[in-house]
């Protein structure tokens, strides 16, 4: 197909058609969106900051892995992760672990993995989330090291 002849035709699509296409694409997400929101509701009811604090042991490397793991399976507004992170620091959990936790919270999405896979492909979703899990640990270590150097 000739790209040059196709482009103007696409540009002339009516605004109503474009909006209907967007609405249809979004409507196809609704069952998954409702599922994810219900899961987040369950998480926020059953998982407390005390419960999360109990996972940490004091070892920097182990705690950063645990932080990333807990952040990965958590969900909800990032502000919630900051509040929990603040409480964890008050309970003497290391900054590396808390950083890994808040970074994984916003970058890894185990709760929404199914919806991500259905829209962007299984392979993409799995490798993206796996890499992000390890990146959360790396970012946490790099961030803490940088802060130490800047002191």
């Amino acid at each position: 197909m000739n790209d040059k002849t196709q482009a103007p035709a696409k540009g002339r699509r009516s605004a109503a058609d474009a909006l209907i296409k967007a609405l249809k694409a979004f409507a196809s997400m609704i069952p998954q969106l409702v599922g994810v929101m219900l899961l987040i509701g369950l998480f926020q009811t059953f998982v407390t900051s005390d419960m999360i604090a109990s996972f940490f042991s004091g070892s920097i490397l182990r705690d950063s892995i645990v932080g990333s793991l807990v952040g990965s399976i958590s969900g909800g507004n990032p502000v919630t992760s900051y509040i929990i992170g603040g409480e964890l620091i008050a309970k003497h959990v290391s900054l590396v672990a808390v950083t890994a936790f808040i970074v994984a919270w916003v970058t890894v999405g185990v709760i929404q993995l199914q919806i991500e896979a259905s829209f962007l492909g299984n392979h993409f979703a799995v490798i993206r989330n796996t890499i992000c899990f390890f990146l959360a640990i790396a970012v946490a270590l790099a961030n803490t090291l940088t802060l130490e150097l800047l002191k």
């Binding site: 058609d17 909006l19 979004f26 069952p31 970074v103 970058t107 492909g121 790396a138």
Partner: protein
């Protein structure tokens, strides 16, 4: 082994069924837990309902944004600015779009699918998703809890990490040649 890349999702029917199965599983979990902890399930439903209400403006924004992109942007434009050959400007555009986008990550999957179908590379899509960790409106909250220096340094590392992720995904999730 053939990878499920390039054109994500395998047919609308299968995808929509998958969504209903997922919702069915979550509802089944709610039903089972309800027998043991009915009060907590009511709380969970309230929290989920409130979350849905809070997200309504974001949903509206995403639908209008997707409509606007459908109306104004051609696959050729997406390919040029966000495709594998778009170079540095493609990475920076994906980064800026991710930082400026708002709302939860999952409401953007449909939008990204549309862009990927029109030629956006997997790496740029990953950069978009990761750079959403830089949340400009929430920076004052982060400063309040963790301090200014922590916040500044973390945002720098998040931007670097998003580009590292994009590069890795670009290599690992390259489309299968026909």
């Amino acid at each position: 082994m053939k990878k499920t890349t390039g054109k994500p999702g395998r047919g609308k029917q299968q995808k929509s069924k998958g969504g209903y199965y997922f919702l069915g599983l979550v509802l089944a979990a709610y039903l089972i837990i309800f027998f043991f902890k009915p009060g907590e399930i009511q709380q969970s439903l309230m929290k989920s309902g409130l979350l849905g209400l809070r997200l309504l403006p974001a949903f509206t924004f995403v639908i209008l944004f997707m409509g606007l992109v459908n109306y104004l942007v051609s696959p050729q434009t997406v390919s040029k600015y966000m495709g594998r050959e778009s170079g540095l400007k493609g990475w920076l555009l994906a980064l800026a779009m991710g930082i400026l986008s708002h709302g939860p990550i999952y409401i953007w999957f449909s939008f990204l699918k549309e862009l990927r179908d029109q030629g956006m590379s997997s790496g740029r899509a990953a950069v978009f998703l990761y750079s959403r960790a830089v949340k400009i409106p929430l920076l004052p909250v982060m400063v309040y809890y963790f301090g200014l220096m922590f916040t500044i340094v973390l945002q720098c590392w998040l931007i670097i990490a998003s580009l590292v992720l994009g590069g890795l995904i670009e290599k690992l999730d390259s489309p299968v040649e026909p």
